[in-house]
């Protein structure tokens, strides 16, 4: 329960900080945090290294925008369309991978291949997606607020609260799953799937559920991210993005539901903190990542928790 208290100071930040850079960094932290937390369900808790996560993020961003542009639906229906679309794709890819019992690097490579396939379709289907030029949005999400009616989501403060609530809901959703019998089932699959099988656990079914539930989180993050920056292009699907997601989980800590948000914060904030020219910045950025993973193999949250327990 004490973890819940951590959300309160975050909710007060806009009142105390008027610096837009800080708030913007936090908005990206929250949205990318959803991506990291949902990835960690598949990777950290169930032990499947999926490289499809960036693709789920990107596909949902495109599906949200395109459904709004072509069908005239609201942002929230668009987001739901993105989630449903990603869920259907996840069922197909998950069924293929898990029926053939692909594990570890084989699973990683096949999901990477599907991810590249998705990227190439988006890149080359120019009439629909505008290819490598991407799409600049003219549409804005709207939101019903008590007392104010339907208002467009605009401005840093509003995005701050929207993304904060979204990440808090994501953490609540995934921690409910992980702290239930289903989370135990996922742990069983990660630790010894042959044993899980002989204990009557349908390993295929639970791997698929996990893959779908994780990708659905990526889909929500994709819709929010796209509309926050008002732009989509095939870079959403890049291998860089997949690697950044893995880095979030490793940096934050794989054993804690919300820890990848800390990883997302470090990845988002670092480029702003290292105030030197771009080439040197990338170098320092890389070094910090390597060192922190070497020195804190259990991630930032993992090391902090251990230190407190030891003290």
């Amino acid at each position: 329960m004490k973890w819940l208290l951590l959300w309160i100071p975050l909710a007060l930040v806009p009142a105390a900080v008027s610096n837009n850079v800080v708030l913007t960094v936090l908005i990206f932290t929250f949205i990318l945090g959803i991506l990291g937390v949902s990835f960690n369900l598949i990777f950290g808790f169930t032990g499947q290294l999926s490289l499809f996560h960036a693709a789920a993020f990107g596909l949902s961003a495109y599906a949200t925008y395109l459904s709004m542009a072509h069908w005239g639906v609201s942002f929230w229906i668009g987001m739901a369309t993105g989630v449903v679309f990603v869920t259907l794709i996840s069922i197909v890819i998950g069924t293929i991978c898990f029926r053939f019992k692909l594990k570890e690097l084989y699973f990683a490579i096949v999901t990477l291949a599907f991810s590249e396939l998705a990227r190439l379709v988006i890149l080359n289907w120019t009439s629909f997606t505008n290819g490598s030029l991407g799409i600049n949005f003219t549409l804005t999400p709207t939101l019903w607020l008590p007392g104010r009616g339907v208002v467009p989501v605009a401005g840093t403060t509003m995005w701050y609260y929207l993304s904060l609530i979204a990440v808090a809901l994501a953490v609540a959703f995934y921690s409910r799953i992980l702290h239930s019998w289903m989370g135990r089932t996922f742990a069983a699959i990660r630790l010894n799937d042959a044993l899980a099988d002989t204990l009557g656990i349908n390993v295929f079914r639970y791997k698929l559920i996990c893959f779908i539930a994780g990708n659905a989180g990526a889909a929500v993050a994709g819709s929010l991210y796209a509309f926050y920056i008002s732009y989509i292009d095939p870079h959403y699907f890049s291998v860089d993005q997949s690697l950044a997601i893995i880095a979030m989980a490793l940096l934050g800590g794989r054993e804690y539901v919300a820890a990848p948000i800390v990883g997302a914060f470090v990845l988002t904030a670092l480029p702003h903190v290292i105030n030197v020219n771009a080439e040197v910045r990338i170098l320092i950025y890389g070094l910090i990542l390597i060192l922190s993973i070497l020195l804190m193999p259990r991630g930032i949250v993992g090391s902090l928790v251990r230190r407190r327990r030891a003290a």
Binding site: S180, W181, R184, A187, L191, D197, T198, L199, G200
Partner: protein, 254 residues
């Protein structure tokens, strides 16, 4: 008949590990499967529990053919197996190991209602914890409830394997050399646990190459050698059979 094994054969390449084996198990039996090392005992259990597919022959469980079913389907049907080398979820506590094994119990008792336990303020542990504690007590593991499974002694690990199998509420429990590597006290403990189980109505099929422990426990014995059944009867009868003595001690003693 609970389980009928009909002409079961398993070949790995040129090696016939189990050859044309037939026997049956009735409700409440404790059946011992004896045989020297390498005689095909573990392969037999792996065939029954669905880990291996039979090359030919049939497995009939409660009147229904089950060969070709996956291990989790066979476990759900009521046949659960323990491993010769204990298989555990090492990082997790003893309690959590048994809780994972409660998957089937929960599925049977709650069905789709399991999904409701994902909502806040409801936990599936409320339903499972009393069962888990009962089984840990039965297996004399209750004092180690919160220890990591990886920190248990070898005997403790084997006992935890039995506890996990029990949590699945099997109708037929297959035990692969449950006594191997155990000390004298641990064997006595295991013997008591298995007798308690039989009194509970669980059918047991135990394999072991050591005749002493199993001979006392089993009501009926099946002896296999080179993958084929060479004798069947009460343990005393079977141990007098020349073919069995020959398999264990060599031709000169038969």
């Amino acid at each position: 008949m609970l389980l009928e094994v009909r002409n079961l054969t398993k070949r790995f390449g040129g090696l016939t590990a189990v050859s044309d084996m037939s026997f049956s198990l009735a409700q409440g039996d404790i059946v011992g499967v004896f045989g020297p090392n390498g005689s095909g005992k573990t392969t037999l259990l792996n065939l029954i529990s669905g880990v291996y597919l039979p090359t030919s022959g049939d497995l009939v469980w409660e009147g229904r053919r089950i060969n070709g079913s996956k291990p989790h389907e066979i476990a759900e049907a009521g046949i659960v197996k323990t491993f010769q080398n204990p298989q555990l979820f090492g990082e997790l506590s003893v309690f959590e190991n048994v809780a994972i094994a409660g998957h089937l119990s929960l599925k049977r008792s709650a069905g789709w209602r399991r999904l409701a336990t994902l909502l806040p303020r409801r936990s599936s542990d409320d339903e499972l914890a009393p069962q888990i504690d009962r089984i840990l007590r039965l297996c004399r593991l209750h004092e180690l409830r919160d220890e990591a499974a990886a920190s248990l002694s070898y005997g403790g690990e084997k006992m935890l394997g039995v506890a996990m199998a029990l949590m699945c509420k099997p109708k037929l429990l297959l035990l692969d050399e449950p006594g191997s590597g155990l000390g004298h006290d641990e064997i006595a403990n295991l013997d008591q646990v298995l007798r308690d189980l039989r009194d509970d109505g669980t059918t047991l099929c135990v394999i072991d190459h050591r005749v002493g422990f199993l001979g006392n426990l089993a009501d009926r014995a099946i002896v296999i050698h080179h993958g084929a059944k060479i004798a069947e009867g009460t343990p005393e009868q079977v141990l007098r059979e020349p073919a069995v003595i020959e398999a264990y001690l060599g031709r000169g003693y038969a």
